[in-house]
Symmetry: C2
Subunit: 171 residues, 2 copies
């Protein structure tokens, strides 16, 4: 099974090079590159990404971000929670527990977690103890949100935080 130690990834050119092996390479990665080139962020500063190395190779990663309670539209009572995205394990390293190790790491903060389940990944998330939420178009905008509730936390009902509710006006 190898070593499944989760480490916080550093912002540097080596990490960026590793990221090119992952399918999801977008604005977050390009922004990191721009910031490094323009010296806007320091080399080796901490990124919002966590990963697992197999030897010297990055084989799994995810991004994890704490959202403040006042912006919480998913959990009751409203509270700080983690948004998890870009969970991905490189093809030859799948089905070896790397994805679970990353999710378990996220759970270890004992905060609620919200993710957007990619097409066909619902079974994985259910297996990880996540549940789909009631779809709210204005909030979810085409996402398929899956959430993990620590003890004592439940789904937030619509409109309990009116400050963040968006309109569904006719066009």
């Amino acid at each position: 099974m190898g070593n499944h130690e989760v480490t916080r990834l550093l912002v540097n050119y080596k990490t960026l090079e590793e990221f090119k092996n992952f399918r999801e390479f977008g604005a977050a990665e390009l922004s990191m590159k721009d910031d490094l080139e323009a010296n806007i962020i320091e080399n080796d500063s901490e990124s919002p990404f966590y990963g697992i190395y197999f030897g010297k190779k990055l084989v799994a990663r995810m991004s994890l971000y704490k959202i403040e309670a006042k912006f919480d539209r998913y959990f009751d009572p409203p509270q700080d929670y983690l948004e998890l995205w870009k969970l991905e394990v490189l093809e030859p390293y799948r089905k070896k527990g790397y994805g679970k190790a990353l999710v378990d790491f996220a759970k270890s903060f004992n905060l609620p977690i919200k993710t957007n389940a990619r097409q066909g990944s619902g079974e994985f998330w259910s297996h990880m103890g996540f549940e789909p939420v009631t779809y709210q178009p204005a909030r979810d905008r085409g996402e398929s949100p899956y959430v993990w509730y620590p003890a004592g936390v439940q789904e937030q009902q619509e409109n309990t935080t009116p400050v963040n509710v968006e309109s569904n006006q006719e066009l």
Copy 2:
């Protein structure tokens, strides 16, 4: 080239059956099915989806949603804008202008538009006159936002609407 007329899709079982041909089938579609089955929404009521039929077959679609100005974190001055997602043309019907016809329809409201560009679609969006925005992790959360500015509208700088700014706290 066929007929490129854009129509607002109706919520009914025929539309749901057509949706199964598209790759992106998630919480929005399942929610529509649940709501129909539980009679929560009326059969043939208007959906947030727009599409193009070739004969009787739905060959392209998108979802379009108006977001209120007070939640605008992308445009300056802050204003009502459209969020566009799930733009998809069925494989055999690509490169025939269906995608452009849908985007042109969205532009016809003359409101700013924001979308999340899927992996590898940046060139398409640039061709449509969209531009990437400066990536803000707390706002964009792993998305690759592309926007379209009508005349007189520009990119919103960070923190001009503090009510909606989320925290980037260390975990």
